[in-house]
């Protein structure tokens, strides 16, 4: 099963490299979003609170612009039935999830680097805490947006519904991540942010479990 999921991921990866649709769209979206924020800030000095919030705002909307491709592209090309024949739902979901996790990590690393270069207040004092937040937050973001993408691909309206459906699901994750990013700016220790870290870990675990349980129903529809 694992090698099949890996092969599925490779297939997505290769077809992505061939067209570079998602990569190009995401890269441009990141640049556009960050420049809009920079223009609107102008010469104002914004505080840490706002920087942490805007960081996750850009991450959320970038994810919403690119991650639905995983399943929507299969529906558009009409390859869903073939996939249903050759692989079990769990395998399909694993393959898509690996692809989205890698995409999210790549795009968020770029966003973090750009923020570090362009925003004065983006100074991380507790780097390990930021890294933990970043990794756990990315996994949660990838899982939730993958399962919602599966729903969206089966529903009629593709583009507009995606952020609408994802936002309430991602809200607890994003709020906690903003808080933890702020902690890492302040240099708060791991001990003091244990509760928030526990929240993201449990969010990730719950979302992974629920997604694997429910994906069968979506995929067979």
């Amino acid at each position: 099963m694992n090698s099949k999921a890996y092969n599925l991921f490779l297939k997505d990866f290769r077809s992505e490299l061939r067209t570079r649709y998602a990569i190009n769209a995401l890269a441009m979206f990141i640049i556009v979003a960050i420049s809009v924020i920079l223009f609107s800030i102008g010469n104002e000095k914004i505080n840490e609170n706002l920087t942490a919030g805007l960081f996750w705002v850009v991450i959320f909307f970038t994810a919403m612009s690119g991650l639905s491709r995983a399943f929507v592209s299969e529906e558009e090309r009409g390859t869903t039935l073939t996939l249903q024949l050759i692989a079990s739902p769990t395998t399909v979901f694993s393959g898509k999830l690996i692809f989205n996790v890698i995409l999210v990590f790549a795009m968020n690393a770029i966003i973090a680097l750009l923020y570090g270069a362009l925003f004065e207040d983006f100074i991380i004092k507790n780097f390990l805490l930021f890294l933990a937040t970043f990794i756990l937050g990315n996994i949660g973001l990838a899982v939730s947006s993958t399962i919602i993408a599966a729903i969206i691909a089966k529903a009629g309206a593709k583009g507009t519904l995606y952020p609408v459906l994802s936002f309430p699901i991602l809200l607890p994750l994003i709020l906690t991540c903003v808080q933890l990013t702020l902690f890492s700016f302040d240099g708060t220790s791991f001990e003091k942010s244990r509760f928030e870290l526990a929240i993201i870990v449990s969010y990730d675990v719950i979302m992974i479990t629920v997604s694997y349980l429910l994906f069968d129903f979506i995929w067979k529809e």
């Binding site: 399962i147 919602i148 729903i151 089966k154 529903a155 009629g156 309206a157 519904l161 609408v164 459906l165 936002f167 309430p168 699901i169 809200l171 607890p172 709020l175 906690t176 808080q179 509760f195 928030e196 929240i199 969010y203 719950i206 979302m207 629920v210 997604s211 429910l214 129903f217 979506i218 529809e221």
Partner: protein, 234 residues
Amino acid sequence: MIWKIFLFLLLAFVSVAGIAFPIVEKPSAWYEFPFIPGLEENAKIIFFHVPTAWVTVVAFLMSTIFSFRYLKNKNLDDDLKSYAAAQLGIIFCILATVTGAVWAKFAWGAFWSWDPRQTSIFALLLIYGAWFALRSSIESEEKRATLSSVYSIIAFVTVPFFIFVMPRIMTGLHPGSADDTNAGPVVNFKMNSNMLLIFFLSLIGFTILYLWMWKVGYKSLIYKEKIQKQFLRG
């Protein structure tokens, strides 16, 4: 019929008692409510606002349970039941939000201040909205039922986070919040027994009202479907 009369009497009593019974410093008569510092006359909203919020959550829970049953049995009736519950849920959700916001204007000075519970009910409103948007985008009945059931279960598992996460991230203004010093946990010891009694009567009354409305809503959905089918047959 009997229980409809009972419901009418119950809600009539709760409304009259909730609005008209006086709040005094030292309650002695059976109809007098205690004076709660920081809340004063504003305390009376508890008889109407809390039950609507409670019904919102009950409706959400019922909608999720019927979604779960639909995925298990693939019976379209369960989907209709879930839909009827969610329809009422969003109405009560809006009611709870609006009554809360109006109350907040007088108690806290602003209609909206992102109190943990305000944020939670806002998230619930968003979930309901997204759920209806998803349903309206799908033509086929079975597909609509399956996808919306899946979505309502995914949305439901995030609810505990709102209960645990929000109070930690935002400071609470709500009576009964952990860090609330003047009004304190209202339900536990600031209300006297008659206030508690009317509060719980109101909860029971609103719950029965909701169940009745849910039954009527579910039946009307079935009739609507029947009429549509007859119409299609010509």
